[in-house]
């Protein structure tokens, strides 16, 4: 039995998305660097100069609390997965907990696993709630991803994410059926302690990293649960671009319609740790009771988490209690490379 399944059934009782309002077109980045652009990714989200993983987690967390309809004091853990925590040393979790009005008697922690830090926090939270140690916990995946100016990653490194509040399955809008996690030491992408931008192993990030790990996690999860692609209404894959998730979806027998609601990278770019939680928020925004949703994340370094949910009738009660993911996608202000360089602190003010 490789499946991760808690003793007490656990579900998502509230979810909340956040995407900053600024967008830069990939053709604008290509204009500056005379690059080739990023294919089907038209533009990426850019955080404002006063935003970071902490402020964005606070807004997503408030949205999740509004849908969960529980007092912030009843949350027993706030775990934030990100590769862009504002501090190298000082937890994001304590600031977010304080801003959300959580009690001091909680666990607050920051997770890091490249792009799958958010689902890592979610799976740990399944254990925390499923063991009975906590009634409710909040798992957040959020990033303000950094790409070196001119690097291929700059075309897609975006900002956004989602917050998920876990609680007893009986109270949930979507029950977590189970999870599976697969990891191996694979050096495809990394950022050293004091480096501002990450390094990547070019094409090595494809087959031995993304496809191998997601493929393993996906196949094992389907085998262990005795399900196939047609058992799911929707599927969400980690989306560093548009091509990778489309390729793995096709190979595994999923249709473009199953993939579409949670595939946001063509509109906002790659939100790293935020990508799968945000894709899940967008899918929950349109899912019907009884729908099953499969999600498979990927984080460089490397690993993949697969989990699935069954949507309950409570989804219709909670959906309208906070802004939809689409509301954030539609709220867009286009900026040029100069403003982007200012907002992302690529201009040295010599402060």
């Amino acid at each position: 039995m490789k499946l991760l399944k808690p003793e007490n059934p656990v579900g998502i009782i509230g979810y909340g998305a956040y995407i900053p309002r600024y967008r830069i077109k990939t053709t604008e980045i290509a204009r500056v660097w005379r690059g080739e652009g990023a294919g089907p990714i038209r533009e990426k989200s850019v955080p404002g100069p006063d935003e970071d993983t902490i402020t964005m987690s606070i807004e997503a967390g408030r949205n999740a609390l509004a849908r969960a309809r529980v007092a912030p004091e009843s949350i027993r853990a706030i775990w934030i997965g990100s590769e862009s925590h504002p501090y190298a040393v000082k937890p994001s979790g304590t600031i977010v907990a304080e801003a959300l009005g959580a009690d001091s008697s909680i666990s607050a922690a920051d997770f890091e696993f490249a792009c799958k830090a958010g689902t890592e926090a979610l799976i740990a939270g399944m254990g925390f709630v499923g063991s009975g140690m906590a009634r409710y916990m909040m798992a957040i995946g959020m990033d303000t991803a950094q790409g070196k100016p001119g690097d291929v990653l700059e075309y897609t490194a975006a900002a956004g994410g989602g917050a998920l509040i876990l609680g007893p399955a009986a109270e949930s809008a979507a029950v977590l059926d189970g999870a599976y996690s697969y990891v191996s030491d694979t050096p495809d992408f990394w950022r050293r302690q004091t480096a501002k931008y990450p390094e990547h192993a070019q094409r090595f990030t494809g087959e031995p990293a993304y496809f191998d790990h997601i493929g393993h996690a996906l196949r094992t999860y389907l085998d262990e649960t005795g399900t196939t692609a047609k058992d799911y209404a929707y599927v969400i894959f980690h989306q560093p671009n548009a091509k990778f998730p489309q390729k793995i979806a096709k190979e595994a027998g999923f249709t473009p319609d199953q993939l579409a609601p949670g595939l946001l990278s063509p509109f906002i770019g790659n939100t790293y740790s935020g990508a799968v939680p945000l894709g899940l928020c967008a899918t929950l925004d349109i899912a019907r009771p009884g729908d099953r949703i499969l999600a498979v994340s990927f984080g460089s370094g490397a690993g993949s988490d697969a989990f699935s949910l069954t949507v309950t009738s409570k989804i219709d009660e909670v959906r309208a209690l906070a802004p939809t993911t689409q509301a954030y996608i539609n709220r867009r202000t286009e900026i040029d490379y100069a403003v982007y360089a200012k907002y992302r602190e690529k201009i040295d003010f010599d402060r």
């Binding site: 404002g48 970071d52 402020t55 801003a99 959300l100 954030y328």
Partner: protein
């Protein structure tokens, strides 16, 4: 370094936590423990909704130290729905017209960084144009 002051003010700054007077029910922000209306003790904490309207505003084209790189930006007097008037920065101003009476909502953002790259990051309330839900 003003860590003690920032630490003391964190609840009101991060989440607009003020007070409500147990005697005359007036909502108080910032918290001051004495009701400005009836003069009696008021220490009951109160979570403001964060919704309000622009009472007046100005555009800052040359900000003070710590805010200069954010210029131009708006500073506004916000009349909170619960009554109090507070001063705050506006943020996420896009194509919306900023005018007196515009509805705004509170968000928690970076205010500034204490010192250069080595200091603490200060977070607090700002207001933005109300997020529009998509029509179904």
């Amino acid at each position: 370094m003003e860590n003690p002051r920032h630490w003391r003010l964190k609840k009101q700054r991060y989440a607009l936590v003020g007070e409500i007077c147990p005697h005359c029910a007036v909502k108080i922000f910032p918290p001051r423990d004495v009701c400005p209306e009836c003069g009696l003790e008021a220490k009951t904490s109160y979570q403001f909704s964060g919704k309000g309207k622009i009472y007046s505003y100005t555009k800052m084209t040359d900000g003070p130290a710590g805010f200069r790189q954010n210029a131009p930006y708006f500073v506004a007097l916000i009349q909170l729905n619960e009554g109090p008037m507070i001063t705050a920065q506006l943020t996420d101003v896009g194509d919306e017209e900023i005018k007196i009476g515009s509805p705004v909502e509170m968000v928690t953002r970076k205010l500034r960084e204490d010192g250069d790259q080595h200091g603490a990051i200060l977070y607090g309330y700002k207001f933005r144009p109300v997020l529009q839900e998509v029509s179904a």
